[in-house]
Symmetry: C2
Amino acid sequence: MDLYSGYISRLIEELSALPGIGNKSAQRLAFYLVNQPKEKVKKLSDSIMEARDKVRYCSCCCTLTDQEICPICANEKRDHHTIMVVENPRDLAAYEKTGKFEGVYHVLHGAISPMLGIGPGDIRLKELMQRLQTEEVTEVIIATNSSLEGETTAMYISKLIKPTGIKVTRIASGVPVGGDLEYIDEITLLRALEGRTEL
Amino acid sequence: MDLYSGYISRLIEELSALPGIGNKSAQRLAFYLVNQPKEKVKKLSDSIMEARDKVRYCSCCCTLTDQEICPICANEKRDHHTIMVVENPRDLAAYEKTGKFEGVYHVLHGAISPMLGIGPGDIRLKELMQRLQTEEVTEVIIATNSSLEGETTAMYISKLIKPTGIKVTRIASGVPVGGDLEYIDEITLLRALEGRTEL
């Protein structure tokens, strides 16, 4: 028997298909939504469709935007000779929040993962190589995640770019600021040691 | 500067207003949604509005349903003389999943909380008292949560019902099945002791 109304069950099912939302959270969200004022729920429902409809990839850096060229690529004050390669727009946002990076980005929308069957052709790597041919780039900073997939992608990209003579760098891996050595895994500790700098 | 497109920022803002969804989860959900096929996103957006539009309170037990009377209240095979009082429809669902409760429910949609300014008039208590007058009820089982609010509500309801002569019971509080005594708080341990039964 259907414990709730069919509409609620359907909503719970769809919500629990979202990433990071389990069945319990989906139930909680569904009951919250049906108890909210109608205008508020309509606003959310419309925002979802609108974002899906209007958002597209920047024709330059491939991040998500509602314009042909995203605000960062369109900004002439940024250093267009330095490209930071990130896995997704959230990583771009994380670096933008530091407010210290003056260059531009390239968003791969994923990382190479032989385990999940994601190859170099499945991420926006071709677009990056095209940019390197048409734009005057002096440095490519690879800021993919410090995971197995991120590292694989970084290695792959650096091998691809090196023959062109463009400088390729990788963001440092080490102990996070405020991190307590005692609780940090061995691989990170070794990375921090390898990457030590002179004071 | 708006890092993402305005549509994504708006969606993130609305998603992060939902219960249990912080800013990071909202970002993750928003980017997931704009990357999904349009039909799939439309289905979710429609489900939200549909659930909000079609769902109403059961005119008998006050649970959420899409009919005048919910399937449980409409089921003649259930024992309509025993009413289990719960705080919300999720609690009802939890007991229904046990498959062992034959009676019917009454959903309060909240609990009395002087701290949050929720009084007896803010939950569906009046509807319960009306049912006790018009229906032939022999037992009211109070299954509100074992929290401060739940206990307060249970006490309040039992005092309200006792003069009518109807039997009022409270679900047992104690060590959960599979629970390790070592990790259980003292109040629960004391409750378990008080509620001990002869073997």
